[in-house]
Amino acid sequence: MTAPGHAGVAHGVRAWDTHGEQAQPAQKTSGTSITPGRAYGFFTDTTLCIGCKACEVACKQWNQLPSDGYELSGHSYDNTRQLGASTWRHVTFIEQFDEDRFAERDFDVFASLPARVEPWGAFTAGEQWAEPGRRWLLMSDVCKHCVNAPCLEACPTGSIIRTEFDSVYVQQDVCNGCGYCVPACPFGVVEVAKGGDGKAHKCTLCYDRLRGGMEPACANACPTDSIQFGPVDELVERAKLRTDELRGRGIPAYLYGTDGVLEDGADTTRLNGLNCFFLLIDRPEVYNLPPVPHRASSATGRGLVTSGLAALGLVAATLWAFAGDR
């Protein structure tokens, strides 16, 4: 297999010719070819997620991440609990059921039956799965690879960089574990492996796989295409079609993280969009996502200005105090 490589693809990495006849593996598995210089990301359609956690397993396996132990969280079927240094995919389980669901079933078995028997009712007119009070919400969460990434902006070593695939990547040979990226992230994604190797870790968008022309492991493993990988512009188009379709069926679907639009169509965030965005059918808080994620570095300039003014005042006052009594 001696296909000519792209500029920027190092020797030793299997380079796939995206323009020639040689197909990349990603073209077969995700219908897209991977070209350096284009922005890639995930479109996670939460309405398709079945909570199988294949993405979590695939991520752990490909990236050789250590186990997090066997702790039971008590939160539904979610024992992964959160993203972290050794967890780069996390399936959030949200149970939304009415209080009287169990009482009803106990007293009247027939009550749980539909009023009219429609063989395909549940999938067409009924949409019971999307009604609050009788549904699961499932979401496979991941690093959002923000367009203006606060972790990257916070990193004082230059360890966190933007790759040729527009993903946000922590260079492990540079990171010194200062941990300032951790509170900078508006989504609680990146974490320093305290007690481990002492460095910050998070999703790499499977940088190594992208270099080899393969889609990320989680998207490859997702059995329902809830996680879709591709160029961000194409994904956004696809996601908008899906949103319109769901809305036509009466389901309040919307996209979280496209074009900086996070709330009511108003551009209210300075992250300027997320390369990994989500289709949600409830408020962002329900999925544990901030309604308006905050770009941490936006406070730095203003803080320095107020500090400078305070410094001028305090130093002048100190000089005055010292000059007044010689």
Binding site: S76, V174, P183, R249, P291, V315, F322
Partner: protein, 395 residues
């Protein structure tokens, strides 16, 4: 059957997210001590520079300030490096300059200020005769070179004293991010007050060990006058610094109390906060004010008769004031850090913070985003009229 339920309540137990939406800082317990020591270093430098540039150039004050600046920086740098996940890579901090990263700016600021502090301490050591007989260096230390160094280091010291507050504010920890504009000034005023206190203590002990100061007369009376005036200069500045610190800390307290996490804090923490404000900031402020006004009277009335010996009540009160101010400054850093940790671990704080942000930018959204699903409101009525799920009548 409640077929048409209202929007699901996120506060309901089953709908609760399993973990907070943002992560708290993973610093070790001694990072607030770093804030404190670097603050003392920065504050000391400001004091030493003010004494050299505007004051009477009392060598005891300048000596204490220079050594404290270097000592605080060394201790602080040690703590910072120890906190790194990979301490041996500390120099990676100086790979790049990034204006958007308070940590990057701070690393460069610490390097620059640390160099100044090192140079000044070296000059001072030459002046004190620790480097053997170096009369030229000692002259430089007392003369224009020492003053130029103080002037150059002054903005750097102000930056080192305040950047830690900016660093905390530039995060997604709600308690800090909400008052991002005010943490820098708070930390700077706290640095100045602790620097004044530390310099006052060290200068006083230096004076006891070696009463002869270079510039003023060496008679007993002139020494006492020089000492009293130096103490009064420090006390005047201490009043200003503590007043600013107290005002900013009270403002911060109001900001923290508005957050849901504050209601979950144990009473002991509320008590600690109020004690810090009262005993760590308020009490030394009152004492410093009393000292300034009493000394003003005393100097005017009986200028020559007041030789306050070291163990007099005045000296004790001065030491108490300094100790309270130093302890208050340390406690303040610990409290601010703790409030941040609790806030990051409380989801309601993040929701409140991000909601406030959206309300600031788009006021019309607030009512909806706070009450009901903004999305559901937008959705057009379903094309198909859904049959209501009613109980089939079997009888």
């Amino acid at each position: 059957m409640t077929a048409t339920t209202s929007a699901p309540d996120p506060a309901r137990e089953n709908a609760l997210p399993p973990a907070p939406p943002v992560k708290a800082v993973q610093w070790e317990w001694y990072i607030p001590i770093y804030f404190w020591t670097s603050g003392i270093a920065a504050g000391s430098w400001i004091v030493g520079a003010a004494e050299d540039l505007a004051g009477a150039r009392d060598r005891h004050v300048i000596r204490a300030a220079r050594y404290l600046a270097l000592g605080g920086m060394l201790a602080g740098s040690g703590l910072l490096i120890a906190d790194l996940g990979r301490p041996e890579r500390f120099h990676h901090m100086l790979r790049i300059v990034r204006a958007r990263s308070a940590m990057s700016l701070g690393s460069w600021g610490l390097t620059a200020f640390g160099s100044c502090a090192g140079a000044a301490a070296l000059l001072q050591a030459a002046e004190d005769g620790w480097l053997g007989r170096r009369p030229r260096l000692a002259r430089l230390s007392r003369g224009a070179a020492g003053r130029a160094l103080h002037a150059v280091g002054l903005p750097l010291a102000a930056f080192v004293g305040s950047y830690t507050g900016v660093l905390l504010g530039s995060t997604n920890t709600p308690s800090w991010a909400r008052r991002a504009d005010w943490l820098g000034p708070l930390f700077l005023s706290s640095a100045l007050s602790s620097g004044l206190a530390a310099v006052g203590l060290l200068a006083e002990s230096g004076r006891r060990r070696c009463p002869i100061s270079g510039r003023t007369g060496n008679g007993r009376r002139s020494r006492a006058i020089a000492r009293r005036r130096a103490e009064r200069r420090l006390a005047r500045a201490e009043v200003i610094a503590l007043a600013a610190e107290l005002a900013l800390a009270l403002r911060g307290r109001a900001s923290v109390r508005a957050l849901p996490s504050d209601a979950e804090a144990p009473r002991s923490e509320h008590l600690a906060r109020d004690l810090t404000l009262a005993l760590g900031l308020g009490a030394p402020l009152v004492l410093a004010v009393a000292r300034v006004s009493r000394r003003a009277r005393g100097v005017r009335r009986k200028r020559t008769k007041r030789h306050a010996p070291n163990h007099s009540t005045t000296a004790r009160i001065e030491r108490l004031t300094a100790a309270l101010a130093l302890a208050g400054s340390l406690a303040l850093r610990y409290l601010v850090t703790r409030e941040g940790l609790r806030s990051a671990r409380t989801p309601a704080d993040t929701w409140r913070f991000t909601e406030t942000k959206s309300a600031e930018r788009a006021p019309a959204n607030r009512a909806r985003s706070a009450t009901d699903s903004r999305v559901r409101d937008q959705v057009p009525a379903p094309a198909v009229d859904r049959p209501a799920r009613e109980r089939p009548s079997l009888l």
